[in-house]
Amino acid sequence: MRDSSDRALRAGLADLFAVPVDQPRDDETFNRAALRVFAYQYERNAPYAAFCGRRGQSPATVDHWTDIPAVPTAAFKEVALVAGDASAAEAVFRTSGTTQGQEKRGVHYIPDLLLYHFALIPNFAACVLPDGAELPMLSLIPPGAELPDSSLAHMVGVVLERLGATGGGYYATTDAGIDDVGLVQRLREAAAAEQPVCILGTSFSFVHVLDRLAERDERVALPPGSRLMDTGGYKGRSREVGRDALLELYEAFLGIPPSHCVNEYGMTEMCSQFYDSSLRDHSRGVTRQPRKLVPPWVRTRVVDPETLEPVPSGGTGLLQHFDLANAGSVMAIQTEDLGIEVDGGFQLLGRAPGAVPRGCSIAMDILLEAVQRSPD
């Protein structure tokens, strides 16, 4: 995004990123911006234009953001979905792949990291630091320099740098894994100094730390105001822990109450993230089931898996996101994540399950396994 139209687009979006996250939705403003972004992407992103063309859609036919064709996340594995020159992207993030092993990874080209940061910083601050706290940020995710493909590592790096108080740092490397001994020592220092901290990591990395603490029968009582942000599933790792059980463990072993545990839902294919409302609700005295909050520059719809039409309010369906921070790639994303729309956001139910074969019909994974096992 370097020519004059890029700058104009970015300037137009900057206002939206400045809107406080709780402000009532202004659909007209969002729609104007979304249509501009759509036209911009249609012009510069040839695979996306082809995808729209196959559906008979173009900027000439679309006058509301809900009609902008949403690209399935699978597409990021097949083509470069970038508005402009992929080789000039400031960052290239890749999906981590799954337990299946050698499958293709999705690639998200980010022409302009500034938009990414525009979306990241105010949203994180609103949801994880709604009380304006300035805390040392302790990361269970290795530094971004070690994981240049990882959007999560990049995100955490930006948070540490821009929003963290002194005394933060990384407690994981790609070589040595999670430094749980160092982390626990740092947490004890924080407890002794009555200095609240914020810990950031994947759910799996937290489970690893909790398991180590349990093995050594250790507990840390972090000072009030301490919090954590966890993210993501387990992707076939050894141990899966349900959300409620995990929240109990956080409180028991780290002294962080459920109100201060914020789950993040993000995806490599999106520049914006979603956070639980838990801490923001707590700081404003609101009592309700936590939900994922949708920032003002994003719209999320819940659609029927078969028709991709919106489901009736309160119904379960696939999440479809329209993220203006994705102006440099593709804004409308069709996920395979199931969710339910609720007031002010959505409940995330997790990834749609794979097809379960009936009887003696054969499942694709059995066949793929046979192919992969074959020495030929």
Binding site: P72, V79, E306, L338, P357, I362
Partner: protein, 456 residues
């Protein structure tokens, strides 16, 4: 609607709803292991009567029971229940019932007995074996059959085969189709009570180790249709050395050969589409892909023609219910294909409105599994020989190959057998193997008996 999902001898607890789907409740008693043991004992006793019966009496009772199932008062509720539990459309459920029941005739069972044993009533006497005395096929004391729900009617065929070899049978239905085998057993009991005492059918939650331990203790042959995990689980619990015939997951595909004329294309497309549509591809006999021997242009034309035919079938033989995982799998396959096409790869995609059917022409001949539910890959190869390396990794899973456009059927069949196929058939008949077929390459009846050799 309530429907009986059991036919059991002796004193069993009162039936209650054990499964429910789309407003249909399947009724069966909740059995304790002691009930299962008593049922097995009754069946074993009935074996003595079965062993004296002629082929004619057995096949006559079977045919009459099948005829009664198809009577409108019976067939209506049965089709409704099959559709509810399997998720197949009512039209599909009706088609499958009619087609399967067509095989449960006197002539079909007679042909089967003669094909397998060389003569009628072979189980009633010894046959001379030149230079080696005499031999006689002996029934087992009790067989335990475990059914799958994906192809209704296979359960009944399985019961019939056991009866024809005079082996009493306890059938355990699948939650995916708990009604048809029980209805047949019951009709059989009405037609010929003595034959009926040789069959018991019911449903319990698969993997109930207490009940299944009681049954495994009493039976001396297991026949298991179903998924790999269910089969592994029961096999682990069976007495070591007990004959255990499994019909687990299998792969089938179709091949369009080099001798097709342009005029044959509409017929080919219609046959492939029908084979894909029947059972919504959930059968082990259903083609997951079509290999076209010829040029990419030819293969694309074939794919387009199949799409047209699948669209017609979407109306006349509608697809059944899909769960969210199945929808997601189809969507992912479509998405990947579409973006490979957009990326300039040799891929073309034909899709229905909604999720009725999907055809993907893929210039890459490498194996791509279908996610089923009327999702077909069409691939092209310069020659049939190139198929060998592609299918090699799953040669043990290969079952039916439907062919068209090969002038020398035997030669082609032998080449396909070398790749692992156990059945080669015209594409149109892929979903409908004859009653006497060697399912997964095995003898339909000879595997169900023990041979007694007398060398005196």
């Amino acid at each position: 609607m309530d429907i009986r999902a059991y036919h059991l001898p002796g004193d069993v607890p009162a039936a209650e709803p054990v499964l429910e789907q789309d407003g249909v409740r399947a009724l069966a008693p909740v059995l304790a292991p002691a009930h299962a043991r008593a049922i097995c004992t009754d069946l074993i006793q009935a074996g003595a009567t079965l062993r004296g019966m002629t082929d004619a009496r057995l096949s006559g009772a079977i045919a009459e029971a099948a005829r009664r199932l198809l009577a409108p008062t019976q067939a209506g509720p049965l089709v409704e229940a099959i559709a509810a539990f399997t998720g197949y459309s009512p039209a599909m459920s009706r088609r499958v019932l009619d087609r399967m029941a067509g095989d449960w005739t006197v002539s079909a069972t007679t042909r089967l007995m003669e094909a397998e044993f060389g003569a009628a009533d072979a189980l009633l006497h010894f046959s001379p074996r030149p230079g080696a005395g005499r031999s006689r096929p002996m029934p087992h004391r009790l067989a335990f059959h475990v059914f799958a729900g994906n192809v209704p009617g296979v359960s009944v065929t399985s019961l019939i085969r056991s009866l024809m070899v005079r082996t009493p049978v306890l059938g355990k239905s699948a939650a995916g189709e708990p009604v048809l085998a029980a209805a047949f057993a019951r009709a059989l009991g009405e037609v010929d009570p003595e034959v009926g005492t040789g069959v018991a059918v019911t449903w319990w939650p698969g993997g109930d180790t207490d009940i299944e331990a009681a049954v495994l203790d009493s039976c001396d042959l297991v026949v298991h249709y179903g998924g790999a995990e269910a089969i592994r689980s029961l096999r682990r619990r069976a007495t070591p050395g007990m004959p255990f015939l499994d019909h687990g997951p299998r792969l089938s595909f179709a091949v369009a050969g080099p001798d097709l004329e342009a005029a044959d294309l509409p017929r080919l497309a219609a046959d492939v589409a029908a084979a894909v549509a029947v059972f919504d591809q959930q059968g082990c006999v259903s083609p997951q892909m079509l290999y076209v021997i010829g040029s990419p242009e030819h293969a694309r034309r074939v794919a387009g023609a199949i799409a047209t035919e699948l669209e017609k079938l979407a109306d006349s033989l509608p697809r059944g219910r899909l769960d969210v995982g199945e929808v997601a799998a189809i969507r992912e396959l479509r998405n990947t294909a579409e973006f490979r096409a957009i990326a300039g790869e040799d891929v073309e995609l034909w899709v229905s409105q909604g999720m009725a059917w999907t055809v993907i022409y893929d210039g890459d001949p490498a194996f791509s599994g279908s996610c089923l539910n009327r999702t077909l890959f069409v691939k092209c190869l310069a020659s049939l020989d190139l198929l060998g390396p592609i299918t090699r990794p799953f040669r043990h899973l290969l079952q039916t190959v439907g062919i068209a456009g090969f002038s020398d059927a035997d030669h082609t069949a032998l080449r396909l057998a070398g790749m692992g196929a156990t059945r080669v058939t015209p594409i149109a008949t892929m979903p409908w193997p004859p009653a006497s077929w060697h399912h997964d390459g095995r003898g339909p009846l000879v595997e169900l008996v023990r041979w007694l050799d007398v060398e005196i």
